[in-house]
């Protein structure tokens, strides 16, 4: 279980060095994406002017406030509260993010599925778990909102944050077929019969 302090963008080799249960702290640009962002990009063919190659994306839609444009707030948005949303809704976008945009790291909560795990293995990517619902803390790791694209989708715009000491995050899915979600799920389902027995129920197969 190693710890990595990474500055984005990162290379394929750096990505493939990550193994489940390692921890990572990120510095540099971090891109915020969500459902509507990816529906626009991958289903409706909207292009972004951002180069995501080698970068990390986070499943989010921030609370922001409108402020005067200044060197500290070049977009005219200041962060209020930035957190992380459930990743599984966006499962089908992992492969195009990696394949078409060159993204290396997906940050989210709750995990992604087998299709994403396959894409991480084939192309070289990893999923880093953040603790969902701890946005007040997460916001303190964000230095600025550096840029924003597709802002008609606000709050589901494509955000470019600048982060420092973002983490530690846990490598929960790696490029070697490892997934904490798969192993925890299998273990939990293995305990189903015992839990039902404790309730006085004869276990029947899951619905």
């Amino acid at each position: 279980m190693a710890h990595y302090d990474l500055s984005t963008p990162i290379t394929e080799a750096q990505t493939r060095a990550l193994r489940i249960d390692d921890t990572v702290t990120l510095n540099g640009p971090l891109f915020g994406i969500r459902d509507a962002t990816q529906i626009a990009m991958f289903d409706r063919g909207r292009a972004t002017r951002f180069d995501l190659a080698g970068h990390a994306v986070i499943h989010t839609a921030p609370n922001v406030k409108k402020v005067d444009v200044s060197p500290a707030n070049p977009t005219g948005y200041a962060p209020v509260c930035i957190g992380t949303t459930t990743s599984s809704r966006m499962e089908r976008f992992t492969r195009p993010l990696l394949e078409r945009c060159g993204v290396r790291i997906v940050i989210g909560k709750g995990g992604l599925g087998v299709a994403s795990l396959a894409a991480f293995g084939e192309i070289g990517g990893a999923y880093l778990a953040i603790v969902g619902g701890t946005a007040a803390l997460e916001t303190t790791w964000i230095e600025a909102i550096e840029d924003v694209d597709l802002d008609d989708l606000n709050p589901e715009s494509l955000w470019r944050f600048r982060v420092r000491g973002f983490g530690p995050l846990r490598v929960a899915m790696d490029s070697h077929g490892g997934s904490l979600y798969t192993s925890v799920d299998a273990d939990a389902r293995g305990k189903r019969a015992a839990a039902l027995a404790a309730l006085g129920v004869n276990a029947r197969p899951a619905r």
Binding site: N63, V131, A135, T139, A206
Partner: protein, 295 residues
């Protein structure tokens, strides 16, 4: 007699939304301490520690606990001595809606509410039927009580209803709850409060599950059989090892809460609705003495 002043209700509705998003109720904080004290997995200890730290950071920085501003729900209880006449009911609802919108614009908060078909966001946290406003009457309280719950989508997206049949008995209810917790995995931001509705009609059953999920920790089902079931289920779901954030561990749920309603001789409905660890709620009492806030 207390006359409802829409201006006061509007301010309270605004204030409640913001308070609920920032300060976790004491029963939930206590729930965290209980889970952390008995957690045996190292990863889970770590995750719980981060959650507990976040509660302190939110208070210290006067920030939101979670970025998800949720679906705003206002539960209004009209007690003794409240004079309602003419258009007062409609004015009460309008005032709450206005307060919800003002919280969103003035704080500002992320509006998480969109039209269900066009997906257009009015940036007001309001839309058709939202905020959800429920009005009830109770003679045991004085004045008006308003409870606000910003219901997070990660937990709300994991909601289930099963119209089981009488021949499947209570076993179907227990099995369903266990399978829902397994299917939810980490998507609901565990540790959760697992709300279980049993009986009623399909819609009442689901509504009971929501009441159960948002009830304070340490409270129990008023029906003795229901209370027994929630005790049994609380123990069983924490045997599964889903753990905080679904990353493994003992702390899968703070508790399972059960709410019951009578049902039809041919029916055996069971519903599950979950509340995530950001189990936010705030309440206010409006009486002739003024406004006081609590949880």
């Amino acid at each position: 007699m207390l006359r409802i002043d829409p201006g006061v209700v509007e301010n309270v509705a605004k204030e409640l939304y913001i308070r609920a998003l920032k300060i976790l109720p004491p029963d939930i904080k206590q729930g965290f301490d209980t889970l952390a004290a008995r957690e045996t997995a190292a990863t889970a200890q770590n995750v719980l520690g981060t959650m507990i730290r976040n509660i302190a950071v939110a208070e210290a920085t006067d920030n939101l606990l979670c970025q998800d501003t949720g679906i705003p729900i206002y539960n209004v209880t009209i007690g003794r001595g409240v004079e309602l006449s003419g258009d007062d009911g409609a004015a009460l609802k309008a005032a709450i809606r206005k307060g919800c919108e003002r919280a969103t614009r003035e704080h500002p908060l992320r509006s998480s509410i969109v039209h269900p078909l066009t997906r257009a966001n009015e940036h007001t946290s309001c839309g058709i039927g939202v905020p959800v406003i429920q009005i009830d009457h109770r003679d045991e309280i004085d004045g008006l009580r308003i409870e606000m719950i910003p219901k997070g989508s990660g937990s709300e997206n994991n909601s289930w209803l099963k119209m089981a049949v009488p021949a499947e008995g209570i076993d179907a209810i227990k099995t369903f709850v266990i399978d829902c917790v397994l299917d939810a995995g980490g998507k609901t931001c565990p540790p959760t409060i697992v709300g279980v509705g049993v009986g009623g009609t399909a819609d009442l059953c689901m509504h009971l599950a929501k009441i159960a999920a948002t009830r304070p920790l340490g409270t129990h089902c008023a029906d003795a059989e229901g209370a027994k079931l929630e005790d049994e289920l609380s123990g069983a779901v924490n045997m599964l090892g889903v753990g905080p954030q679904g990353l493994g561990g003992d702390a899968t749920a703070f508790a399972v809460h059960v709410e019951l309603a009578a049902t039809h001789i041919t029916m055996n409905p069971v519903a599950v609705n979950m509340q995530c660890h950001s189990a936010r709620r705030a309440s206010a009492a409006i009486t002739s003495a003024g406004v006081s806030y609590g949880f």
